[in-house]
């Protein structure tokens, strides 16, 4: 019984981090139609900056929002100086659809090299700001700790704020419209370029939150070639695809589903099957539900 509860708790906690990463990927996709492979690098860089903020302010909880702001600025800068130019110059022919996506792969390498140049290759540690030891009920230790609870609350709050922004504000309207049909939006007077940069910035902040929360919960260390962040990207992608790439709610559900499936495989089958399960799930969803579990009906029609 406790094993079942614990597995569910592990699934929900790791799922909520995948959900944050998925949200970052969905945000860039929704506002620019670019699948952003550099998201892992952006999250890693933001977490390195978060590490510096922790050293300055001696508080993880001050460093977290600062890292999110830094992540937003880095992402906005990438869009302003790099992506905007690229989209403009490679806007025609068959290359137009793939050039920005391939470019984000290049960007991922650049960011990792940049980190290694400035911080070196040694591991840096981010300690858990609060206890990561599970609460106990009688003689049993639950898989939910104060840190994991905080991660869950932070993830849910961020999802709530972003969903409100998209669904209830004028700015959200501009974001949705620009992604849907940039030319029509331009005709209607929407500053599409500015809106796109903002989409990148929001994604940068969400990715920074994912990185900052995952690190103390996971290995606790940062390195330029962190496998943890590569996995975060891969699982974020899988979660985003399960959710249909279009919707924030889909990203959240996708993250939770992925987290739970992986946790159950880990506990009840075998730890060595975790990665393969993630990829099999991705392929199955792509074949069976190519529009994800919340298929945006007619979302591609303008």
């Amino acid at each position: 019984m406790y094993e079942l509860i614990n597995t569910t708790l592990i699934g929900i906690t790791s799922g909520s981090i995948y959900a944050l990463m998925a949200i970052a990927i969905v945000l860039v996709w929704r506002s620019t139609r670019i699948v952003n492979f550099a998201q892992a690098g952006m999250a890693l860089l933001s977490t390195y900056l978060g590490y510096e903020f922790i050293r300055i302010f001696h508080s993880f909880w001050i460093a977290l929002p600062l890292a999110m702001v830094a992540g937003a600025l880095v992402a906005a800068l990438i869009d302003l100086v790099f992506m905007r130019l690229l989209v403009k110059h490679a806007s025609q022919g068959p290359i137009a659809a793939v050039a920005p996506i391939i470019a984000t792969l290049g960007l991922l390498g650049v960011i990792r090299a940049f980190i290694s140049f400035f911080w070196g290759n040694q591991d840096l540690a981010i300690d858990s700001p609060i206890s990561n030891v599970g609460y106990t009920v009688g003689t049993h230790t639950l898989a939910i700790s104060p840190l994991k609870l905080a991660i869950l609350i932070a993830s849910l709050a961020l999802m709530g704020v972003l969903t409100l922004l998209f669904q209830r504000t004028n700015l959200g309207l501009a974001l949705r419209a620009s992604a849907f049909a940039p030319e029509i939006s331009r005709l209607a007077g929407v500053r599409v370029d500015g809106v796109r940069t903002l989409g990148w910035a929001l994604a940068g902040a969400a990715g920074a939150a994912a990185g900052m929360l995952q690190t103390p919960n996971g290995t606790g260390t940062l390195s330029p070639d962190s496998i943890e962040f590569s996995l975060l990207l891969v699982f974020g992608f899988i979660a985003a695809v399960i959710g249909g790439l279009e919707s924030l709610l889909g990203a959240v559900l996708g993250g939770l589903i992925l987290g739970l499936v992986l946790a159950f495989v880990l506990t009840y089958i075998s730890g060595s099957l975790v990665f393969i399960t993630g990829f099999v799930l991705l392929i199955v969803v792509l074949i069976a539900l190519p529009r994800g579990i919340i298929g945006a009906k007619g979302a591609r029609r303008a």
Partner: protein, 254 residues
């Protein structure tokens, strides 16, 4: 402003696509309160001319005049600020948004908050004001009753109304209508005609249209394009009698 001064003028507009001349030295002029029609056989360059005016296509040559003064060729997203709004042939509503939201997108230029401040805090007053403007625009096309329906649930004539409301909401001086009567039945065409005539009280209208009945009954002046060149211009009567126009349309059935 005198009524004779042109509100918008285009001189020497030329565009080619990979060696193919789509438009050659086209001159257009629209005066205050005028309804101007752009007609011509298929492939004559009407849509290209429209797209060029909207900055969707960059011209090889051409001068742009607003209120008689020379102006840089417009960019698509600054068009609305210049007082020019356009509807699209394919209507182009955002299918997963409501009618009201669709129209609100056209009112973005009245949003006083910048992107950054809008991201940090919602400005309810600003949004309420945009909503009011959108409802007022829907009233003009008698579509307030469908304000809360999703755009993809509308009948075709209703999508046309909404797309016009989205163009009207930014209070343009010049409204560009791309085939407003296309796909409409007789009754809706009648309605569209009277709407266009009523609009001239506050704006000028530029129309691309295939329906000759519509063109002849609402337009004050016509430009006839053929093979990318203006072959005739003037009142409906003048143009209709022009041998060059008759020759261009011969066999097209229009």
């Amino acid at each position: 402003m005198s009524t004779n001064q042109s509100l918008l003028a285009v001189k020497g507009l030329s565009i080619s696509f990979g060696g193919l001349r789509a438009l050659n030295d086209v001159h257009l002029e629209i005066k205050q309160g005028e309804v101007v029609g752009l007609i011509g056989p298929n492939g004559a360059g009407k849509t290209t001319a429209f797209n060029a005016l909207c900055g969707l296509v960059t011209p090889d040559a051409g001068e742009f005049f607003l209120d008689g003064t020379s102006h840089a060729w417009p960019q698509t997203d600054t068009l609305v600020k210049l007082g020019i709004a356009r509807t699209l042939q394919g209507v182009g509503l955002f299918s997963d948004l409501t009618v009201l939201e669709n129209v609100m997108i056209g009112a973005q230029r009245f949003s006083s908050t910048g992107l950054i401040s809008a991201a940090l805090g919602r400005n309810t007053k600003d949004e309420a004001q945009l909503k009011e403007r959108a409802i007022a625009a829907l009233e003009k096309v008698y579509a307030t009753g469908i304000a809360h329906r999703r755009a993809d649930t509308l009948s075709y004539p209703d999508t046309k109304r909404v797309s016009i409301a989205r163009a009207l909401v930014c209070e343009p001086k010049i409204l560009m209508l791309d085939e407003p009567a296309g796909g409409l039945g007789a009754q809706d065409i009648e309605w569209m005609n009277s709407l266009i005539r009523n609009l001239t009280a506050t704006m000028s209208v530029l129309i691309v249209e295939h329906h000759m009945d519509v063109v002849m009954s609402v337009c004050d002046r016509l430009y006839v394009l053929n093979f990318g060149e203006v072959i005739s211009s003037g009142s409906a009567e003048t143009v209709r009698r022009d041998p060059a126009v008759i020759a261009a349309y011969l066999g097209t059935g229009a």
